[in-house]
């Protein structure tokens, strides 16, 4: 009971902290005029734009890895830090990051005195926020699930410090990190295109890249160019999948603790990399690098021996500073939220529940549509090894194509012709969230033990009875995990999907995403921004806590094979 209260308190603190940061960021106004760079839309510029987009993605990904390992290590190695750090991560994961984008742009542009670097930083920061959290969670889980015996063996061999980090922590995390990196890149592409496409309110600033190229090509009615842009994007994504992710996934299997001999055949690209690494020049280069690194790994970082009074003094002051920052952040949030509530036009306030309901309705429709096609597809693909080998790479590659790249097309051909924003909104939400469901469901179907499949065959359990008694309960945990991620992605997509400007004309669907955009771009109403953002985040957090969490517990308790 006391533990529960403590957990709720840390969650509330974490929520308020994030809101404090939002307030702090949104308070900023642009102090510098941005000169939009000239972005010519021509075929020959396409490679350069693709490179720019890739550069942003890689910078954000490296940032995510550094952040994730540091944060997860700190959280997993001290029970004192664990509670609050996990609570903050959980909130960060549920907050619709796209809502912070304009604020982040203001902040970074001011920081870099109006140069393009500021906008680049904001874009990288946005992509980072879409990539980092799940990687962090996966590393944290990996550290926590290292078998106790292996930890003891490492400690008995007197391995510690950096060496322990690279010999135990990093390898243990590799299978999950590779898998989650793939997911993160898929999400990252979505946000990359989004932040290149979205005009930040009155600024209308475009970063040179694939997203802006697409947007402008459609704006100019050059469908050929837009198709070429999508072609370039698909090409890059497929190249990355077949030359990086597929061989990496195969390699990552070696780091699992389960001693199951894998019968999967190595992909051709994996064999190619092995050949390349064995070329004399490259292999000597690799061993040279290894020799350079190893003394660093073997370095015994002796903790600096401070007099115990001084070290406890230092620790105390550090704790005080952190506590002060937390207190400052939360009180800032409380003050700003209450003052916003007082200032805000009451008409807006009453609109918020209706807006949340309207948005949730759109998400529900998209979710049901997604479920209707992903469940049978997952069963079809996962119940046969050969089918799985054929379809999985294709699906993974397709899932990485950000739906938002088709956004300009959807606007031009659906919204501007039918005048109905709802179809486009639901389509955007659907394309942004269906893959999470499909992947998790395929995993769920695959996780049905061979014994149980054979049993069903022997007992003659088929058709409807098989679905009801075996299949649906068996995939239930995966369905819940997939649904949580899918709904998370959907809330985020609302911010792009409910407020669409095309050729200077505004199309909107009333909802919480619309309110947030309206407050940001049209009204410049800080109180409304903050209240919309807070109520949206709060809805997500409460839905997670009181619905998805309960479902998840049910899945763990009842529909779990490890009994």
């Amino acid at each position: 009971m006391r533990r529960n209260i403590w957990e709720t308190l840390t969650k509330i603190t974490a929520f308020l902290l994030v809101m404090g940061i939002a307030y702090f960021l949104y308070r900023e106004r642009l102090h510098f005029a941005l000169l939009p760079p000239h972005i010519p839309v021509e075929y020959r510029k396409l490679p350069i734009y693709t490179l720019w987009s890739l550069l942003r993605m890689f910078s954000a990904y490296i940032l995510s890895l550094i952040f994730s390992y540091t944060y997860a290590y700190l959280a997993a190695t001290s029970p004192r830090r664990e509670g609050i750090m996990l609570a903050i991560l959980d909130i960060l994961q549920s907050v619709p990051v796209l809502g912070f984008f304009p604020a982040a742009v203001y902040f970074f542009v001011n920081l870099f005195h109006g140069s393009r670097i500021g906008v680049e930083m904001a874009a990288i920061f946005l992509i980072f926020t879409s990539q980092a959290w799940n990687i962090t969670f996966s590393i944290y889980e990996s550290i926590k699930t290292i078998p106790e015996e292996i930890k003891e063996a490492i400690d008995l061999m007197n391995i510690s410090g950096l060496k322990k980090f690279f010999i135990l922590i990093v390898p243990s995390s590799i299978p999950k990190v590779v898998y989650n990196s793939m997911m993160s890149w898929a999400g990252g592409w979505y946000f990359l295109i989004a932040c290149e496409i979205i005009a930040i309110g009155p600024m209308n600033y475009h970063l040179p890249g694939l997203g802006s190229f697409l947007q402008m090509a459609v704006d100019k009615g050059r469908i050929d160019l837009a198709l070429a842009g999508i072609g370039a994007l698909v090409f890059v994504i497929f190249l990355m999948y077949f030359f990086i992710w597929q061989p990496l996934s195969y390699w990552a299997e070696k780091f699992r603790y389960e001693m199951v001999s894998s019968t999967a055949e190595p992909p051709l690209t994996y064999l190619m990399w092995v050949k390349i690494a064995n070329i004399a020049l490259i292999s000597s280069l690799l061993s040279f690098i290894r020799r350079l690194i190893s003394p660093i790994l073997n370095l015994r970082l002796k903790p600096i021996q401070l007099p115990s009074s001084l070290s406890s003094y230092l620790r105390l002051s550090l704790a005080t500073i952190i506590l002060f920052l937390i207190a400052f952040g939360t009180s800032l949030a409380i003050i700003s939220l209450t003052s916003s509530l007082v200032q805000i036009d009451k008409a807006y306030l009453f609109k918020i529940p209706a807006a949340i309901l309207a948005s949730a309705g759109r998400i529900a429709v998209a979710y049901i549509l997604a479920l209707l096609w992903t469940l049978p597809t997952a069963v079809y693909i996962a119940s046969n090894k050969r089918r799985e080998n054929f379809f999985m790479p294709l699906i993974q590659a397709f899932a990485s194509i950000p739906a938002i790249a088709f956004f300009p097309f959807i606007v031009r051909y659906i919204v501007s012709i039918t005048g109905n924003v709802n179809i486009a909104t639901i389509l955007l939400i659907l394309t942004g969230s269906q893959w999470y469901l499909l992947f998790n469901l395929i995993g769920g179907v695959k996780s049905i033990p061979t014994d149980l499949r054979q049993l069903s065959a022997i007992l003659g359990i088929r058709g409807f009875r098989y679905w009801r008694k075996i299949l649906l309960p068996a995939v239930f945990p995966a369905l819940i995990t997939g649904s949580i991620t899918a709904w998370g992605g959907a809330w985020n997509a609302l911010i792009v999907a409910e407020w669409i400007t095309f050729k200077g004309k505004l199309y909107y669907a009333f909802g919480i995403g619309y309110l947030l955009d309206y407050a940001t771009y049209k009204a410049g109403n800080l109180a409304l921004i903050l209240i919309s953002l807070a109520s949206m985040s709060l809805t997500i957090v409460l839905l997670n806590k009181f619905f998805w969490r309960k479902m998840y517990e049910l899945a763990e308790r009842k529909y779990n094979f490890e009994a």
Partner: protein, 260 residues
């Protein structure tokens, strides 16, 4: 029905495995799991397939119940080739294969439902077999609430409730602790010996030679890489058998000599 020569002591043949091969394809090479395997199971027989792990005995068992097909050769049941799952057989799994979200009762009932057996008869059979394996009172428990021994009792009840002719068991005692497994072995033998089981024959796969000598009437010994039959030993010791008997040890040594 008249038999040739009027030989009525000849036991009817239930299962006939005839020159069975099984190969798998992996990374451009063919791995031969089973090579030219032949043996028979007659009515009223308890047969054990014994061999080191990896000799393909579980694969063989799965082909006999109809989950898998031989690459070459034939498996005949009462003279008819086995096509698809053989409803006259039932399988007891090494790791129980219980459905975690169904209760003990529902787990046993599952297969009867699928065979379209009416509710009254289902209830009778489930009740009867749960009592026989000593699980009365645990009908509403979930598998996770049971000990390993009790889980396997559910496994037995589920297989027996189908009232098969040939009961197949894939190392049914190897994931239980020694005391529990010995208990279960003796109980199964008691039911089998008292003719309380509806089954006509038992075919059990095991890697424990002592277990095979303790339980079976005949041992079919297999070698590994590829799986081949290297000998058949009749066990004619009277039951109940005692592992410490000199005769018992002699047979164990004989099987060891063949396999190792």
């Amino acid at each position: 029905m008249s038999l040739p020569n009027g030989n009525t002591t000849l036991k009817p043949k239930l299962l006939e495995v005839r020159n069975v091969y099984r190969t798998y394809h992996h990374e451009d090479t063919n791995i031969v799991v089973l090579e030219d395997v032949s043996f028979d199971v007659f009515e009223n027989e308890f047969v054990c397939l014994v061999g080191p792990s990896g000799c393909g005995k579980s694969t063989l068992l799965r082909m006999i119940v109809g989950l898998d097909r031989p690459t070459k050769g034939q498996i005949l049941y009462r003279g008819q080739p086995v096509e698809g799952v053989n409803a006259k057989t039932a399988l007891v799994f090494q790791n129980f294969a219980l459905v975690p979200w169904l209760t003990v009762w529902q787990n046993v009932e599952l297969g009867l439902e699928a065979r379209g057996i009416d509710k009254k008869e289902r209830e009778r059979r489930v009740k009867y077999w749960l009592e026989k394996v000593g699980l009365d009172g645990h009908e509403n428990a979930y598998p996770r609430e049971l000990s390993g021994g009790m889980k396997q009792r559910v496994g037995f009840a589920r297989a027996l409730a189908l009232e098969p002719e040939l009961l197949c068991m894939d190392e049914p005692f190897s994931s239980l602790d020694p005391l529990t497994s010995q208990n279960l072995r003796e109980e199964l033998l008691r039911l089998w010996g008292n003719k309380e089981l509806p089954i006509l024959a038992i075919l059990m796969v095991t890697h424990s030679i002592e277990e095979a000598v303790f339980m079976s009437d005949r041992i079919v010994a297999m070698s590994t890489h590829p799986g081949k039959i290297i000998g058949e030993i009749d066990v004619t010791l009277p039951r109940p058998r005692n592992q410490r008997d000199e005769e018992f040890q002699k047979i164990v040594d004989k099987v060891y000599a063949i396999i190792v």
